[in-house]
Amino acid sequence: MNTRFKSILVALVLPLALLFASSALAQNYPNKPIRLVLPMAPGGAVDVTARIYAQKLTETLGQPVLVDNQGGGGGSIGPGIVSKAPPDGYTILYMSQSSLYTAIVHKLSYDMPEDFAPITWADAPQAIIAASPSLPAKSMKELIALAKAKPGKLTYASDGIGSSAHLTMELFKKKEGIDMLHIPYKGQGPAMIDMMAGRVDVKSCGIIAVIPHIRSGKLKALAITGEKRSVAAPDIPTLVEQGITYWHGSWKGFLAPAATPKEIVQKLNTEIVKVLNSPDIKARLAKDGIETVGDSPEQFAAFLREEKVTWTKAIKELGIRLE
């Protein structure tokens, strides 16, 4: 064949080869360590859960999954890094709903979830609405009645402006028509101390940290989020049981940069869901009141879009602004 024909042949064949190359990429993936970015400082409950996943994923993927804590900025720095990372599946994000709230309230360098490729909804840790033992209310109904009788007198603590403990309580106040004073804290610890001492009345707390205090009687539980009661605390009624159906719980999920190829996202999804469904991980997390989910990328993407709409509307209505 003459050179001209050869070049035409090459020109036709090459793009086809590249088409297959991307799936070849997926077949070889992963062949080097994966960076799992966490938008929070090490040591907290979310960090702990992520490390448990990372350890198991390292075993199943055959490549080290390295946890990279990028805390700060209210959970906005971590997603920022991932949104700008190369979309080759070697940088992924494990985030909680707080990063979404921060992205809604602040003007950031990225859009959530638009600049990301959702992988899967990992887990939904339950939160307990805890109260000071000195508060004369044993259930949500009694709390609402007490708040109505003493408008503005009751106080609730949160982990900071824009945190889920803050936003969920504000939504609760609006829906039930009550008035409680918001006291922001920098962390769960000092807030729990003030609750135990009776200085602050109520707080929505992550289940792991608060359960020992409920068992020892230093704090009492009014309700728990989620569809059903927790294995770790079977005698705490859910909010749904008490007639409150609009309370959004917290959620954690895995995401990748938006341009990551579909095959790699699918492979990550398959592997992560396997880890989420593995009996030892399920048992380990159930002890702490965390239920794993593990849905498909499309389902998670739809969920994220829905959450964004709901909370954008809610935040605007509640008038929560940060500047």
Partner: protein, 501 residues
Amino acid sequence: MMTDVIHNLSMGFGVALLPINVLFCFVGTLLGTLIGVLPGIGPSATIVLLLPITFSLSPTGGLIMLAGIYYGAQYGGSTTSILVNLPGEAASVVTCLDGHAMARQGRAGPALFMAAVGSFIAGCFGTLVIAFFAPPLTEVALEFGPAEYCSLMVLGLVSAVALAQGSLLKAFQMVFLGLLLGLVGTDVTSGMERYTFGLPDIYEGFSFVSIGMGLLGYAQIVANLERTTKREVIIEDVKGWMPTRDDVRSSWKAILRGSVLGSILGLLPGGGAVISSFGSYALEKRLAADPSRFGKGAIEGVAGPESANNAGSQTSFIPMLTLGIPTNTVMALMLGAMMVWGIAPGPEVMSKQPQMFWGLIASMWLGNLMLLVLNLPLIGIWIRLLKLPYRLLYPLILLLCCIGVYSMNRNTADILIMAGFGLLGYIFNKLDCEPAPLLLGFILGPLFEENLRRAMLLSRGDPSVFLTQPISLALLLAAGLLLILVTLPKVSRTRDVAFRE
């Protein structure tokens, strides 16, 4: 109760003296000392790096090692403070003042010795305090609400002024400048961003490490380099480590006072260990026969604060273990580690895992002993390290500072911030302004503000709450008293001078 304590401690020692746990203790304390000696790199960064490894260890062994790293770093941190005038952590800033002054006089040895011995005695004291009082101590932590914290911060800020050697006015200015710098970042109470200029790197404010390394590390190195035209040896001929009888006489009371102060203040979340070292310094300066010696090499200014911060670092475990509430970053990391092991720290730990709890307490005492034995012979080595020509030493220090700052957040912006503060520190040096009060204002200011506003929120705007709560009132009175005692001599001295003229 005595029999309980003896029973608990003997069970604890039974666990702590198991060969594998002794090994963990040794590794932890050795690593901790190394980390503490290197300026800039602190225990938090090390613990984060080691977390994945500790997961495969037994909980007791892992905790023993991590704890060893933490209080080992306190020992090591005093070494850098004394020898190189660089605080390893916020709590070691005070040791720089008199410790480094002593080093410049060729008395680095006695300073290091008394710091080590003081820390050991404080450690023993701390262990006994925990053994006897762990449950009631948690009640103490609960009594401290926002109003009490706010008043404690006021006391701390007044202590900052007491630290000043030179002009009182300049000290006040530096404290206020520190307060202003502490404002930068996101405000907890309102969620507003202050002075961040849209830079996400400072959403959470400046980090203490960047400012400390910049003001104290960089600035000092630049100042020293300026002086090399005189071919000056930075540390004079060091004459060995034995303290004189005078040293021992002056120090032992400081050590005891520091131990008590540190044990109590270490219980309090956020800045407890820092306040105890600053508080001890102010106390010693106030009680000394000749306060003007402070800042120029008074050994009590080393022995007291070092004991205080070591006692504080031990008692800071109590709120974490018994309430599940971490008092600082390192405790938060250990809490995280315990959660991975499936142990929920909290009121149940003492009853459900007594061997782990008491094993940890006993190993802390053991660790203190190991550190004393480790550090004393090492003093000679550190001193020899100092005799390195400065042109080799300072790039090493600079490099370690950069690594330390970068290791905090993996963010290069922090290094630039440190360089900026280095420049500022150089200017301060020229203007004869001390950086220590600024650092204290920077740490305590935000805590003061956060608690002030929270106390006011809870009291619905009623400021009398600071005076009606007994602990708060006591702290404010102490602060007022300290303020008067500190300013009066200076005022009367100026008046004396004016009179003479």
